[in-house]
């Protein structure tokens, strides 16, 4: 009897809570998103693919946000059943298997003021000293757990202050991160009212500090606290802009920099000029000892974990399969280089543009070592990478559009991946879209990469059939027709040339949801998205993804 009473009491209590929470929910607003990325692996000797013990990898993310007036609260539930191959670490023993609420936050927000408690994403300047962010395809979520405060006391001053610890997988760093950033906008004093070409000028500074105690090693005066400072300038007038950021960082000995006691430095210069139908942008960057993490014990197998700063690869992100064989990855300890872009639109009706116009895009990037890591402006002789490329996109008629790309690449594989000869290669790609009826189209892509080094030549092709706006099916193949006798220095040495990396798949999009399924082979190499790369071993099998959102 007592039991029944207890149970009925519990049920009533739950119902009351439910009724209350329902009442609250109906006043506010709940929204969210869901994403699953799942793979079924099979062994495949011809490409060196070895299925993990579970044969399955599945990453799942459920994000929920509740807004009530000026308040927002939310969670992110993550489920790894287990995590997909090479996701957090190339060491399969480190695969994550489990589920939990990984991020949770509460935020109060007004027009010129906000405070957030819990896990948050934030960035100072371009992120060279601090960025906490999420990049799901690459396996990055270094949200800071703590307090994040923003205030704009007057229209020309913005201040951010934060303190917390860095998320890594399902736990947090054994350290505390503190930071502040202030930006002053001088524009209001430089311009008359209703100026035609207003000048914009701002100066900013950031300070970030990481404190980690518990060092028991042999180095005397081991720094428990590592501070980093950034100074920034942004100037803009008419179509011209200039941005400069200079960063210094205290001595930060760790495994990746071989316990070096030297300090870190970085310089970033962005400049751009643009007018109608034309744009040019040039970015230069130099980095010396700038690998800045929340914990000093991070090892290279977990290269993307516990990062405090953001040092993206400043090269053009190409979409072609062969273009993605030799991709650059930032060398945070010693790097200097630049990237330049030119965009031009030959207008429709002009001599070159023709009836539908033509778009030109030129890009060049070069990266190499500094001659002295103590001098941030000393350009050295050791080359890491270059990519000179041109892309032309021309519409011939309402039905046919062609895009042509040529790339010349130099790739220092020893520095970027693993000991191997330097690679010089040329990539040529042509993509055609033929829209043969209002909703139906075919896309055909042909690519070739030619090189005398590494695994030799590659060719690739894609055929894709689309039914707008929802359905798409494709078949693709990437074929290594390397010269006989040239070994392919992939994930596993000794993979024979002549291998076909085929894929067949399709996708359905409906409103905010998208489902895709594909079957085929994945080449071993660097997978790069958002300027960050992770190494993936060769794999073979099925991949299914589903993304959706609700409550918008």
């Amino acid at each position: 009897m007592k039991k029944i009473l207890l149970i009925s009491l519990c049920v009533t209590a739950v119902q009351m809570v439910n009724a209350q929470s329902m009442d609250l929910l109906s006043k506010g607003h709940l929204s969210g998103s869901f994403e699953t990325y799942s793979q079924l692996y099979k062994d495949d000797n011809s490409i060196g693919a070895v299925a993990p013990p579970s044969n399955i990898g599945s990453n799942n993310f459920l994000k929920l946000d509740y807004t009530y007036g000026q308040f927002t609260a939310g969670i992110q539930y993550e489920s790894y059943l287990p995590s997909i191959q090479d996701y957090f670490s190339t060491n399969s023993a480190n695969a994550l298997n489990g589920s939990q609420i990984a991020n949770k936050y509460f935020k109060y927000h007004e027009k010129n003021f906000s405070i957030q408690v819990g896990d948050f994403y934030e960035q100072f300047g371009s992120g060279i000293v601090f960025r906490s962010w999420e990049n799901r395809p690459i396996g990055i979520n270094n949200a800071t757990e703590g307090v994040n405060f923003f205030i704009q006391p007057t229209d020309f001053l913005k201040i951010k202050v934060l303190s917390g610890r860095t998320r890594t997988l399902f736990s947090y760093s054994n350290s505390t991160v503190r930071g502040a950033d202030a930006e002053i906008d001088f524009s209001k004093w430089l311009n008359k009212k209703d100026a035609v070409n207003p000048v914009s000028l701002s100066l900013a500074g950031s300070y970030v500090s990481r404190f980690e105690d518990g060092y028991t090693g042999p180095i005397a005066n081991y720094p428990q606290t590592v501070d980093a400072y950034s100074r920034r300038l942004n100037f803009e007038v008419s179509g011209f802009s200039l941005g400069v950021e200079y960063v210094t960082k205290g001595a930060d000995p760790h495994v990746l920099n071989k316990q070096s006691m030297s300090t870190g430095k970085a310089l970033l210069i962005n400049t751009a000029y643009t007018k109608n139908n034309f744009g040019i942008s040039v970015t230069g960057r130099a980095l010396s000892n700038m690998d800045y993490r929340s914990e000093r014990e991070v090892v290279s197998a977990d290269a993307n974990q516990l990062m405090l700063n953001y040092l993206p690869t400043l090269t053009k992100q190409q979409d072609y399969m062969t273009s993605n064989i030799y991709v650059y990855s930032t060398q945070a300890l010693n790097e200097s280089g630049l990237q330049a872009d030119v965009f031009y639109n030959f207008k429709a009706g002009s001599a070159i543009g023709g009836k539908y116009g033509m778009k030109l895009s030129l890009n060049f990037s070069y990266y190499g070592a500094l001659s002295s890591v103590d001098n941030i402006t000393s350009i050295g002789n050791q080359n890491y990478f270059h990519d000179a490329n041109i892309e032309l996109k021309k519409k011939w008629s309402k039905m046919l559009e062609t895009s042509i790309t040529y790339q010349n690449i130099f790739y220092n594989k020893t520095v970027i991946q693993n000991p191997a000869p330097d690679v010089y290669c040329n990539v040529f790609a042509i993509s055609n879209i033929y829209k043969y009826s209002k909703k139906k189209s075919i896309r055909l892509v042909l690519e070739d990469l030619s090189t005398k080094q590494d695994g030799g030549n590659w060719a690739a092709g894609v055929a894709e059939f689309s039914f707008a706006p929802s359905y798409s099916f494709y078949f693709s193949d990437l074929w290594n027709y390397g010269t006989a006798g040239v070994p392919y220095y992939g994930a596993t040495n000794g993979i024979n040339s002549g291998v076909h990396y085929f894929n067949i798949g399709g996708s359905i999009s409906k409103n905010a949801s998208r489902f895709s399924l594909c079957f085929g082979r994945q080449r071993a190499g660097l997978l790069c998205l958002g300027g960050v790369c992770r190494y993936v071993a060769a794999s073979y099998g099925f991949t299914a993804t589903l993304t959706t959102n609700f409550g918008n």
Partner: protein
């Protein structure tokens, strides 16, 4: 594993079943590429009132996004004559490529307004998973969404606008 996945789905659907549409759009700040000034997203939407507002999330490094916006740029002014609407594009380019956005859009000859969402705050507030992603807003409510792009998708979009 499948039981756990199924559980995730079921809980998600039951959550979704009592969610009503958003009354207030996110007051997240985005930066106008042309004017260099920050504006609250909600104020752009409020200004449109019952005129349809189309928001396209894109990035300079996203190939299908550029194709979609190239094709929209070609026809949207003609389509506006058939039925008035406002079209804006929101770049989620982060500090890696945000400096390229202005030269990129001018070099493409795009004439609609473009905004920067450098820390993806607006993208997160609208629960956008992947780009390209389109939202249609009317009277401060999201009335239609579409994710992904294939050739001809823009025709479907403007057909949808006509019905609103």
């Amino acid at each position: 594993m499948f039981k756990r996945l199924l559980f995730s789905f079921v809980s998600m659907i039951s959550f979704a079943s009592f969610i009503s549409a958003q009354d207030n759009l996110p007051n997240v700040k985005i930066k106008s590429v042309k004017k260099g000034k920050e504006v609250e997203f909600s104020s752009i939407a409020t200004e449109c009132k019952d005129t349809v507002l189309i928001v396209s999330f894109f990035a300079t490094w996203c190939i299908p996004c550029a194709s979609e916006l190239d094709n929209i740029n070609e026809v949207y002014k003609d389509k506006q004559k058939e039925k008035p609407f406002k079209f804006i594009a929101v770049a989620i380019d982060d500090s890696r490529t945000s400096q390229r956005v202005k030269p990129f859009i001018n070099g493409k000859g795009w004439t609609f307004d473009v905004y920067l969402d450098i820390n993806s705050d607006l993208k997160r507030a609208f629960e956008v998973n992947d780009i390209p992603h389109i939202l249609i807003i009317k009277n401060n409510k999201v009335v239609y969404q579409h994710t992904g792009y294939v050739a001809g998708g823009e025709d479907e979009l403007f057909e949808k606008v006509k019905t609103l």
